[in-house]
């Protein structure tokens, strides 16, 4: 009797010990599993860099770096193909400039209104409504630019071509307004009220407080939001692909059809360029340029907002 009791007690203890052992093993294994999942984001970055770099190197074995970066003619399909990236670069830079000419004033004024002037209730309505604008897919903006904005602009500017850089530039700017507005507003709202109150106490109006106190104090955040907006505009693809056409013009005339780096990538991949051809490799050289541009902009934005952040 006694031995049997002893026995069942032993079994019971052993079960507890086993369960404990299993739990300990699980506690050790889970962080390893989770780390492997985390590692995927590193692998993604490495993947992007290796893919872009290796094919870009193949491209530069066929076309000289100098010709690529200083060439003003891009004729990939011609009998004597030329691979100058400057037409694409001007297209990208010009469309970005137009977009920012829209996004910066409207974005900043919206941010000022939301942060300094709007009542809490009105702000609670306006802000989500503007965020809707940010949630609309870019393909829809492309459709809008091509079928609505371009025809309207053509009434004013008769020389405007059916595909041009101006219309997608403006629409891209509208798309970026919420981003600039929301990030700048965050920066302005984090300026402590004691600073505002000090200026109000001296008899300043709201406009004077905004100009002389709030904006200077929030400047790093505002600039960071603009830099991020620029990065977004550089990488934007569908709006320019649809509304700006595929002419590889090297010009500053935005009423003409021009191609951006992103639109070139779409055109070449859409045309089913067979692997191993120079055109196929040019895709990666352009994508690498695009990747470096946006990466520098994003890092710059983070550097600015970190480095020059005012602490109160």
């Amino acid at each position: 009797m006694l031995t049997r009791q002893e026995n069942s007690k032993d079994i019971h203890f052993r079960q507890i010990a086993e369960r404990h052992q299993r739990r300990k093993a699980r506690e050790r294994l889970i962080p390893i599993g989770l780390f492997l999942l985390t590692f995927l984001s590193i692998v993604t970055t490495i993947g992007i860099v290796i893919v872009l770099l290796s094919e870009t190197i193949s491209f530069f074995q066929r076309v000289s770096i100098l010709e690529f970066f200083t060439g003003t003619v891009l004729k990939p399909l011609s009998q004597t193909p030329q691979f100058g990236v400057l037409p694409l670069l001007t297209g990208t830079i010009l469309s970005t400039l137009i977009a920012m000419a829209v996004a910066i004033p409207f974005g900043l004024m919206t941010a000022i209104y939301l942060s300094e002037y709007a009542s809490a209730r009105w702000r609670k309505f306006l802000k989500p409504a503007l965020e809707l604008l940010a949630g609309i897919p870019t393909i829809v903006y492309g459709f809008f630019a091509f079928t609505f904005v371009t025809p309207i602009l053509r009434d004013w500017i008769p020389s405007l071509q059916a595909t041009n850089l101006l219309s997608p530039g403006i629409v891209m700017g509208i798309m970026i307004i919420p981003m600039v507005a929301s990030l700048s507003e965050d920066a302005m709202r984090s300026v402590p009220n004691s600073l505002r109150d000090g200026a109000f106490g001296l008899g300043a109006t709201k406009l004077e407080v905004t100009r002389k106190v709030v904006i200077p104090a929030a400047l790093s955040g505002i600039i960071a939001s603009i830099v991020l907006g620029i990065s977004r505009a550089i990488g934007e693809t569908m709006i320019v692909t649809i509304a700006s056409g595929s002419s590889k013009n090297f010009t500053l005339d935005v009423t003409e059809s021009m191609q951006t780096m992103t639109a070139y990538i779409v055109e070449v991949t859409g045309g089913d360029a067979s692997a191993g051809t120079t055109i196929y490799y040019s895709l990666y050289a352009v994508a690498m340029t695009l990747f470096v541009f946006t990466l520098v902009m994003n890092m710059l934005a983070r550097y600015i907002s970190k480095k020059f952040k005012e602490e109160y």
């Binding site: 002037y117 949630g135 393909i139 459709f143 079928t147 406009l207 990538i265 695009l290 990747f291």
Partner: protein
């Protein structure tokens, strides 16, 4: 200098500025209304049962988007499990296990940088690795994996914020009862963070549904007749159909109407997703 100007002048310029700032904020809303009005006006007449359940066709009157709708659903079927498992897993690792230091900072910076990489670059990655190197071809799985990589940073960051927002006493109480770390995470922290994690995942999903550029790069045929029945089939999605019909509208004006009708379907889907995110957040979010 300020005192040199009359009090009246300063008040007037303040009121004027307020009006200008308000007008600028309303500009965005105005564009939103014009855009929606325009799309509805052009597309609503073409939106009917035949359009939703019909197959693609070169004849506008016969064309339908059943394939694109199913393609979008199949794409979600790939994106949802992958981004949830990897995204939430990464967030748990970074918030609960990773030691503060150089390594964690590196991973965090890397995720922030990935979030800023243009979507078309992900398309090139997907085309090179999934479509060509692994030789999947342009099937749902290849597109879904590419989209998953694209939206993963969004899921990771929002899940991290959700975990960080949980007050420390909940975890401490669980440890105090003798629970292990994983037991605490699984049974205490994750259930509390779930509504916020879900909201972030839904927003990431709506980004994936609306993206076009990566799929253009992967190579989706313009006129795909077969309807996808599994993740190993060739497919098309709603944004791709909008793209092709918009591009072809210069050939035949009716294609623009088909594009508008498809936009209505896409925007409705996005609206429903976002509305469900708001409902989840309001209904289940706990305050401490």
């Amino acid at each position: 200098m300020v005192s040199m100007r009359s009090f009246r002048g300063r008040m007037i310029s303040n009121q004027l500025a307020k009006f200008v700032f308000l007008s600028a904020s309303l500009f965005g809303l105005l564009v939103l209304f014009v855009l929606l009005y325009r799309v509805i006006e052009q597309g609503i007449g073409w939106l009917n049962a035949d359009f939703l359940t019909g197959r693609l066709s070169t004849q506008p009157e016969k064309a339908g988007i059943k394939g694109a709708i199913l393609g979008t659903l199949w794409l979600m079927a790939v994106v949802i499990p992958i981004t949830t498992i990897v995204g939430v897993g990464t967030a748990i690792y970074l918030e609960m296990y990773a030691k503060k230091g150089k390594m964690r900072e590196l991973i965090q910076t890397n995720i922030a940088n990935l979030a800023g990489v243009p979507s078309i670059v992900y398309g090139i990655l997907g085309m090179t690795i999934f479509v060509r190197a692994l030789d999947f071809g342009n099937i749902v799985l290849a597109g879904g994996l590419t989209m998953s990589l694209l939206v993963l940073p969004i899921v990771i960051v929002s899940s991290q914020e959700a975990l960080r927002a949980i007050p420390a006493f909940l975890g401490e109480a669980s440890y105090g009862l003798g629970a292990t770390k994983w037991q605490t995470i699984r049974s205490v922290l994750l259930p509390v963070a779930l509504p916020s994690i879900l909201t972030g995942s839904i927003l990431a999903l709506s980004r994936a549904i609306g993206e076009t550029a990566p799929l253009v790069v992967i190579g989706i045929p313009a006129l795909l007749m077969p309807i996808p029945m599994s993740i190993f089939d060739k497919f098309t999605v709603l944004p791709m159909q909008i793209y092709y019909w918009t591009m072809d509208s210069s050939l035949l004006a009716e294609y623009a109407n088909l594009a508008a009708a498809t936009i209505l379907v896409l925007l409705t889907a996005l609206f429903l997703l976002n509305a469900s995110a708001i409902v989840i957040r309001n209904k289940f979010e706990q305050r401490f």
